[in-house]
Symmetry: D5
């Protein structure tokens, strides 16, 4: 059986991300989200990459909705992306959509050639 829904050939888009109103904008508090099932394709070798994304942020007016975050990340499944680029791109997309007071992403990838890489990007300063 071949599934239609995962063979979309277009680039990942932040349009699938949905937000809801931050229920406590009067307070600076941290939301940590760990997504251990991230996978994309290496553009150089055509081989799949696997990693764990840890996203931490202090929301301002908007929080991302978790199911839409999952769908957003699943768009990378058949998408070619280098570690450094994809982590920065995801930060840019999440910042654009949620406009947080602070956000940080740690992307820890599984070993390739016996070497493993983690990319850590940050937007703003933790309040």
């Amino acid at each position: 059986m071949v599934l239609n829904q995962v063979t979309s050939m277009s680039d990942p888009s932040k349009d699938v991300l949905e937000t809801f109103d931050n229920p406590y904008p009067q307070r600076d508090y941290v939301i940590d989200t760990v997504a251990p099932e991230f996978t994309s394709m290496c553009p150089k070798t055509g081989q799949p990459d696997f990693g764990t994304l840890t996203i931490s942020y202090v929301a301002d007016q908007k929080c991302y909705e978790l199911k839409s975050l999952k769908h957003y990340l699943q768009q990378f499944r058949n998408h070619g992306a280098f570690y450094e680029s994809v982590t920065n791109m995801i930060l840019d997309d999440l910042v654009a959509v949620t406009e947080p007071r602070w956000m940080k992403i740690e992307a820890a990838f599984t070993p390739r050639g016996g070497i493993r890489t983690t990319v850590i990007v940050e937007h703003g300063k933790q309040p």
Copy 2:
């Protein structure tokens, strides 16, 4: 067998929280309480959520009594609540009842859809 005592249909109330006099108010010291058996309901899907609450505080004149804290948290068993809201609400309730010099709650929820979330809220500054 169907039990009466867990089917109260009202919202969680901080009225069940009891306090006792801080035995050493002259000293700033930290009390950590870990409650790994927190459970509530997802208002969107109607599915149960599970999590571990870590509450840290420096009491002023009042400490919360542990058994009453347990009963307070059990009120969420059949209560619908989003992660971000419920964590802030519990902090507000505990602050209102104990009026601490500082309090922080870390609520670590079990994975949903392969993604797990931790919400960290704080009241005041650790002395």
Copy 3:
């Protein structure tokens, strides 16, 4: 907010369990299912109990469907049941519905009064 869907006052029923045809009945093979979010009520104290169920079986003609298993187990959320009874009852229900060649359940409950209990029940002999 008080949710309607979790306040059903009736006893747990195996009628919610659904099955699908075993795709390889010609082979004896083992399916392990771990459900770490089981919770029920202690009939004596009215306090919630928490545990992890590990169900292992060799299907004959029928496998249980996982989503229906989850709904079946969620019925115990507000149900009063002793450790030994509830574990045997779940085994009886799953055996009645799937008629397996062999089934075993290990139910590991969290500590009460500093003591933790695991109940291990088995139906038939592992082929």
Copy 4:
């Protein structure tokens, strides 16, 4: 960027599996292979599944070549398959290609809905 090499729309085929001559057919010995980066699609929900395959076998005349095994398993990336079916199918394919004296596969999948499943299939008896 959208990659061509992962969008093959056909079913997984054992034809990509390559073998080499068992260098010590005169001795019964065990080869364990652990592939922690297995991923396929749930045919019911269209969501990706993730798992770790542990393949153990006693080769007769042929061993599978590891790079070809990796390519064989990557074919499931966009393929819809239930846990029980896919594990049995992979065993059938590897048995057909290598004709081993004994083979066993344990497929441990990550949690879905708070429940995790492991399927254990075996061909022949361990010598």
Copy 5:
């Protein structure tokens, strides 16, 4: 403050143990009970000993009640007993009261003089 209830000067007695009817006597199944807070006194040095008792049994007609087991074990708090004797004595008491089909106790004590000891006693054969 000095408490009255723990200063009973008499020897531990199995009379505090209570039982309830085995809810599934028609099935041989295992109940594991782990009591990590066992403490007694060394009769030679007068120093406290600490240990973890793991009691496993297949009940016949009677199961021990957990709260009464806790009270039974607490009787050893100020009681002098050697490792080997106390483990055998507890097995004898539990066997006398519950008349099980099989019972086993592993008593793992914390290190003394850099050496730690575990005593493993068994009654009957596991069915």
Copy 6:
């Protein structure tokens, strides 16, 4: 057998604590002592409590002798004490006897009712 030496009915006293001269008073250095076998009685329920004390200090002229510390802590075995009080009391006693430049105690108690508590008290500032 009932032992005489543990049935002293009086309150814990710091008089059993012995000290020796700090061998390097000219240097600020830290001594960590971990006592995992602390036990006292809950004054409310009459049930035993168990915990691990971690005592850290920078001595001035006097260090506490370890064997006398053990005897001091064993005095709490049959003594009723709340978590918050007993931790502060032990700090006060150790400070009175050793007059340290800095001292901190972390007392981590085992779970009661599914909830575990750690009390952290400090005297002075770590040099």
Copy 7:
């Protein structure tokens, strides 16, 4: 300061081992003793060796006394002994003194030259 008591220049002797009467000779039960602080000297290099001894036995009429076991093992501190010899010698000594129904020793030594060794010796068959 140089201590007299550890500089005895003679070979280890089983004469320091003391026994006490097995309190339950009518029952076959297992006593496990773990001694993680064993140290001897390599006769080839003159360097100290370190290891953990795990002694398991079913006593007949005599049990070894733990303090005397500690003194027996401390005799090897300045004694030259190869791994294989010392483990067999300790088994012979303990068997000669306690005449057990069964005894087994696992001696796990720390790495030397990046390689670590465990020697496992057994007397009789476990009843």
Copy 8:
């Protein structure tokens, strides 16, 4: 079979290191690379050493390419180098080639003679 490609007798050279353009030079972000399969030769004893290198850096205009990093590190396989020298040398080489805003290397070597060593070197200050 003796391989030609690893027997190059010359010293390690940074010329094999390749770089690519930092895709986000406008942002200070951290790249962590863990290489657990580093091996070199002890110049004193002629014995192989093994270690894990953790390289962290904030790139300026250039990132090192991972495959070329692997080849660079493999040059040390038959190269004699002391721990302190080799760690500083690798830092110098990577700094020369990538000109980062900040770089740090932790080199954790496996035990020799029961003692293990970690060398931590840093270039610049973490932004």
Copy 9:
């Protein structure tokens, strides 16, 4: 600096293995040796492989000497060998030199392409 002693271009030879007389040939006992620093070259890719060898045996008249075992294994450092072949070859060499009553080798290699392999070979039956 380029070292001479590791650049021997010849194949590994069992001639470097030395033995000593089994000190207790009258007893069947097990010697486990774990060598976590094994490394060889992949003949296909020219890349280094890394693994942990666990060798277990019951000696007859001869034990291998550990330092000579280390030198024997170091011969593979620049030698090309497939996993399955090298493990069988080492077993053959050690059996030829020590003529044991039983021997088993587990060779666990680090991941390549996300897949890790363990080869388990055995000579004779464990007594």
Copy 10:
């Protein structure tokens, strides 16, 4: 067999410590050395003590040579020393010989009487 080389009756001396020139004095970098096989004698009880020393330092002109450090530490094997004294003494010796920019020693001893102690001493401030 009784060995001569470990029975030296004199006090530990820093004269056995050798140094080599710091290969990168122009850079402040940290060297961590972990020695888990430290053992000395308790002067009070005559019993052996065991511990793990972690030595961290920033060298100025001189680094200690590891083999000589091992010999230096082995001198304490039959030497009587209290925890607090021996840790400070080792720091004084290493500082005298290497004259570092900064040095810190953590000495973690195994439990005695159920209590374990760690002594942390520091010379200078970490650059």
